[in-house]
């Protein structure tokens, strides 16, 4: 399982890019990269270490640390070694350089991360919402996101009429102590 980068590679990387830190996870090692050096590190990983495939791009909102962590999973094709790269961004203004120039695959995934987490990717050719509607407000995968209350919406549909078929359902849930 634990392939990816070996210890020697990691040491070399740390030497080459001061600021890069390494932690060990359950499945693979994680490189923590400062946001300013992200593109360089990624380029080196892609060209010198054979991680030529962007397997995944996403983010995790961590309000406790006032941070949004940008998570990249890289893979080498065809040997299928994997590594994880993380970037810690300030929660108030998460900005990261776009990797579209390295991997066009990042285009849709960065748009998704922008849409759902509000990470702004600088240099992205077409950074707009992808899954939510264009006029949507907020970023759903942030931990403090709540659905905006639609005007007049209540359990009965807000139109003054009651909908008996929904009442039992709602009551049942309330009795069971669910929200």
């Amino acid at each position: 399982m634990r392939e990816g980068l070996n210890v020697k590679d990691l040491e070399k990387l740390k030497e080459r890019f001061p600021g890069v830190e390494v932690t060990e996870g359950i499945d693979m090692s994680t490189l923590w990269v400062p946001v300013g050096r992200l593109v360089e590190v990624m380029q080196v990983l892609k060209e010198d270490y054979g991680f030529n495939f962007l397997a995944d791009l996403t983010g995790v909102d961590v309000p406790a640390e006032e941070a949004i962590i940008l998570v990249y999973h890289l893979m080498s094709v065809p040997s299928a070694r994997e590594t994880r790269v993380k970037v810690k961004l300030p929660r108030s203004e998460p900005r990261a350089p776009s990797l579209v120039s390295l991997w066009p695959a990042a285009e849709v995934q960065e748009r998704e991360a922008f849409d759902l987490l509000g990470i702004i990717f600088e240099g992205h050719p077409n950074l707009k919402r992808i899954l939510c509607p264009d006029d949507f407000e907020g970023h759903p995968l942030r931990k403090d996101f709540t659905l905006p209350k639609e005007a007049g919406w209540d359990r009965n549909g807000g139109d003054g009429r009651s909908y008996p078929q929904t009442e039992g359902f709602c009551q049942g849930r309330a009795e069971r102590g669910e929200s």
Binding site: I26, L54, V60, A80, P140, F145
Partner: protein, 370 residues
Amino acid sequence: MKPNTSLVTEEITLNMGPQHPSTHGVYRAVLTLDGEKVVGVENVIGYLHRGIEKLAEDRTYTQFIPYTDRLDYLAAMLNNLGYVQAVEKLMGIEVPERAEYLRIIMAELSRIASHYVMLASMALDLSGWTAWFIPFRDRERILDLFEMVCGSRLTLSYMRIGGVAADIPPEFVPALKSFLAELPRGLEEFNGLITNNEIFKARCQGVGRIDLETALAYGITGPNLRACGLPFDLRKVKPYGIYDRFDFEVPVRHNGDTYDRFVIRVLEIEQSARIIEQALRDLPEGPIMAKVPRVIKPPQGEVYHQIEGAKGILGFYVVSDGSSKPYRIHIHSPSFVNLGAFPVMAKGGTIQDAVATLASIDIVLGEVDR
């Protein structure tokens, strides 16, 4: 012949979708057309977005399993498998042998079912009406098999963290064997009708071509990547579960066009059948569930687990904060990324080519929009 430049022509924008016979769901492609020629494509997705990743944060680990069915609803077993294996990796659970074999059988059946739908719908998108029915007829038998083991046909929720939900009933094995015995005949019928049809070949060969380098850059995986000439299959390259015990081939085609993406599915069905046969032969007796705590509380940490889904590499990124609910689940869906390369493939062809290309990418909107 030189085109007549004195004639003023205008490009038109055509909204293909969200309601369109060949977008395979609610997906919209904004085509810029010069006559019949496609000069630009823009993907518009999100019509089916249900916020599954957000929902996951409010469900327990077990409760999330049914949600995975609704990602790629044509291959629900594979989604189940990817998710439960990710959680098992996080918790370090060893799955009993019998459960592993059952998982393989179900996962490969799901793959066959999914490929059947792809073959059928692509034939249909090229107006091969009769060819549409053959794979669907055969797929019906797979759904019957699923109904036998878990009572449902599409949204299966068969896998559990630590094993599978139920053992197979006694009538399952003979039914599966007869299905496997008749599978080649159905494929032969299908190939005779459509795969080797001259018109079909003319419509598909050299259409929507993408070379290996571009395909990798765009993150294309699965059969679509293997149609470009790279035998990259996680079941072979980095076996998860017990895939290293089976003897099968990874089919490769080299042109990277629509026809190859079609043919490779036919070949993969045969290989999946081989895997099932072996799994059925070696199926051991024993428990089907590991000893798993009643409340699943993985230790703090994170895991990224990839499996070879029917459409490409399906990844689950699970972050745990030590509680009974996942802190964050991210689903890397192959359709979503593969669809991102559709504009590149469709540009320069006709509308008819775009339809064929889209069908050959094999998207499922439940997975694209999540």
